[in-house]
């Protein structure tokens, strides 16, 4: 069986069409965004614990950070032993 290329192994090259400069008076380099933009344009690489659903975890993040909107990318379904694990979302 031959190996299939995974989407995350594709390497791309950056090519120049024309040169230009960007005005430092507008926008920010993403890693230098000040507060509150750091939250407004932010994403958390969260390690979902067993127990609560993806939706419950997202709702918790929303409440703790006091944000209006939060959404998750790709639901992780509930494990069968949900009842045994119980609630392990920190208060």
């Amino acid at each position: 069986m031959q190996e299939i290329r995974t989407p995350w192994s594709i390497k791309r090259e950056l090519l120049t069409k024309s040169e230009d400069e960007t005005d430092p008076n507008y926008g920010y380099r993403p890693e230098e965004r000040p507060y509150p933009d750091i939250i407004r344009f932010g994403i958390i690489n969260l390690d979902k614990p067993p127990g609560p659903s993806s939706h419950e975890v997202t709702a918790w993040v929303k409440r703790v950070l006091g944000v209006e909107h939060a959404g998750h990318g790709g639901t992780l379904e509930l494990s069968a032993q949900r009842g045994l694990v119980g609630k392990d979302i920190p208060k």
Binding site: M1, I4, R5, T6, P7, W8, I10, R12, L14, L15, T16, K17, S18, E19, D20, E21, T22, D23, Y26, G27, Y28, R29, P30, E31, R33, P34, Y35, I38, I39, R40, F41, G42, I43, I44, N45, L46, D47, K48, P49, P50, V57, T58, W60, V61, V64, L65, V67, E68, H69, A70, G71, H72, G73, G74, L76, E77, L78, S79, I89, P90
Partner: protein, 251 residues
């Protein structure tokens, strides 16, 4: 199930659609309901690589019609009696529990998924950026107490990270605000472009500072776009940057 669950905040929730379409990787434990030789296990694991047909499970949130999904790889890492530790890389929308169940039917004895952990969702993996709920609570409180923004940066990534695997096109400042108003991207606005873009590909439009402006559909290839002097090159589908971030230099 545990593992990588990217959570987007406020404006960043707009990048979620890109993540939903992205490939995933998992590690898990499969439990066989009977004895199967190691040779047969390897054989069936290899059979389930490539294109598979899958009917979404009963409690799925999508229409239950058979669909085709690509399994990039499927490895049995360890076999211990009837327990198999496996690792799989797959296309978005593959149900792993169903995959294991279907493999069980091919084995004849049946099988079920005992444990599963996601180790990749698109560009997000279990690297140094992954945080637990406790980390989030601790670092957020540290920021509240000290006002040190580095505490927020320790657990909140720029939304651009979600677009790491998408082909990118960079545009000049003067083209940004028009895109934010929904205009399509024309050739003169483009400064840099990544290789390998084909017509109809979903691409991400970036500023020269590296900020995400919008997602769009390429109407031409990388080579064609490099040569073009006029005309629409990318059809804007989803604007990510608020209007007015860059000056309005268009009429």
């Amino acid at each position: 199930m545990t593992g990588v669950l990217p959570v987007a905040l406020e404006e960043a929730t707009k990048v979620i659609q890109a993540l939903l379409r992205a490939g995933k990787e998992y590690v898990g434990v499969m439990k066989l309901h009977g004895d199967v030789s190691e040779e047969r296990i390897k054989e069936v694991f290899s059979e389930f690589q490539g294109k598979i047909y899958q009917r979404p499970p009963l409690r799925a949130s999508v229409k239950r019609v058979i669909r085709v999904r690509t399994i990039y790889y499927l490895d049995a890492l360890e076999i211990e009696g009837r327990n198999i530790l496996f690792r799989v890389g797959c296309e978005a929308g593959t149900y792993i529990r169903k995959l294991i169940y279907d493999m069980g039917r091919v084995f004849g004895c049946g099988a079920h998924m005992h444990e599963l952990r996601r180790i990749r969702a698109g560009p997000f993996t279990e690297d140094e950026s992954i945080v637990t709920l406790h980390d989030v609570l601790y670092l957020y409180n540290r920021w509240r107490e000290t006002g040190d923004i580095r505490m927020l940066r320790k657990f909140i990534l720029p939304m651009e990270r979600a677009l790491d695997l998408m082909p990118k096109i960079f545009i000049r400042d003067s083209a940004v605000d028009a895109i934010c108003h929904g205009a399509h991207l024309t050739a003169p606005g483009i400064t840099h472009i990544e290789s390998g873009i084909n017509p109809k590909d979903l691409v991400a439009i970036f500023t020269l500072k590296g900020e995400a402006v919008a997602l769009g559909t390429a109407l031409a290839s990388t080579e064609e776009i490099l040569k073009a002097t006029h005309g629409i090159m990318v059809k804007t589908e989803r604007v990510l940057m608020p209007r007015g971030t860059y000056p309005k230099l268009w009429k």
